[in-house]
């Protein structure tokens, strides 16, 4: 693997899948429930990423298990929908992924300039 001198590799952790990245990004703005998340992700990705209910809840289950998100108690208890909020660990994971993506694009930009 080629390493570009002078470009620090900021992040060495595991990369996030696209649905997980968008779920965390969406929840970084405000707590949302399932359908709100699906709509928000579609808007954030400009219609490119449309996740299904099955994919969404599989990802939510894993994010809850590793403590990246948590159930969010809504003030209006008459609304029967469970909302989720990002945790500090989730925000850290999201920041790390953004750093990883920045590092990748910086490397690509340097390589393409050299070519």
């Amino acid at each position: 693997m080629r390493h570009v001198a002078g470009e620090p590799i900021a992040y060495h952790g595991k990369s996030l899948t696209e649905p997980v990245f968008f779920i965390l990004l969406s929840l970084a703005g405000k707590p949302l429930h399932g359908y709100g998340l699906m709509k928000d992700i579609e808007i954030l990705s400009k219609g490119r990423v449309r996740i299904t209910t099955g994919t969404l809840y599989g990802a939510i289950k894993r994010l809850l298990e590793d403590g990246s998100i948590k159930p969010f108690a809504q003030e209006d208890s008459s609304r029967d929908k469970q909302a989720y909020a990002i945790t500090a660990a989730g925000r850290k994971q999201l920041d790390a992924e953004i750093q990883r993506l920045k590092s990748m694009t910086a490397t690509a930009a340097v390589l393409l300039r050299e070519a």
Binding site: H33, G34, Y35, M38, R50, I51, T52, T53, G54, T55, L56, Y57, G58, I60, K61, D80, K81, Q82
Partner: protein, 137 residues
């Protein structure tokens, strides 16, 4: 909704208890929204949702490696046979012989996967039991 309920019924019990209601609510909200966009968009949405739910189901089952009731086991076998039939029909344009051969290979790979999963489960149960025995002592 009935198909979605049926697919959700196949999910592991713990997952179902936690997310079934929410998933059905989310699906219903999407369904109502897409219905307003006309039949093609609605049909597309339904197909994607059901495929997504089946994909999620396979992922959950693979991560848990277990079915809880005989009805679920039988349905999984029926689903596997149906998928095999769909695959065979999809491969028919490249020739019946090639389709049958590819189908057999995929079946073989699937069976090997199931055997490996069963073996992994068996070994895990042995390790779990020996740990419990050690704790008792």
């Amino acid at each position: 909704m009935a198909i979605m309920r049926f697919v959700l019924w196949l999910y592991p019990r713990r997952f179902r208890e936690r997310f079934e209601k929410e998933m059905l609510q989310t699906f219903a909200a999407g369904d109502a929204d897409q219905r307003l966009r006309g039949m093609p968009a609605h049909g597309c949405f339904l197909a994607k949702e059901i495929l997504g739910a089946v994909k999620g189901l396979l992922f959950e089952l693979a991560s848990q490696q277990q079915f809880e009731t005989n009805a679920q086991r039988l349905t999984a076998v029926a689903l596997a046979i149906a998928l095999q039939a769909v695959l065979y029909s999809a491969l028919l344009p490249i020739g019946p012989k090639a389709a049958a051969s590819t189908g057999r290979w995929l079946l073989f790979i699937g069976l090997c996967g199931l055997l490996l999963a069963a073996l992994a489960n068996f070994l895990r149960a042995i390790v779990h039991r020996s740990r419990l025995n050690l704790e008792d002592q």
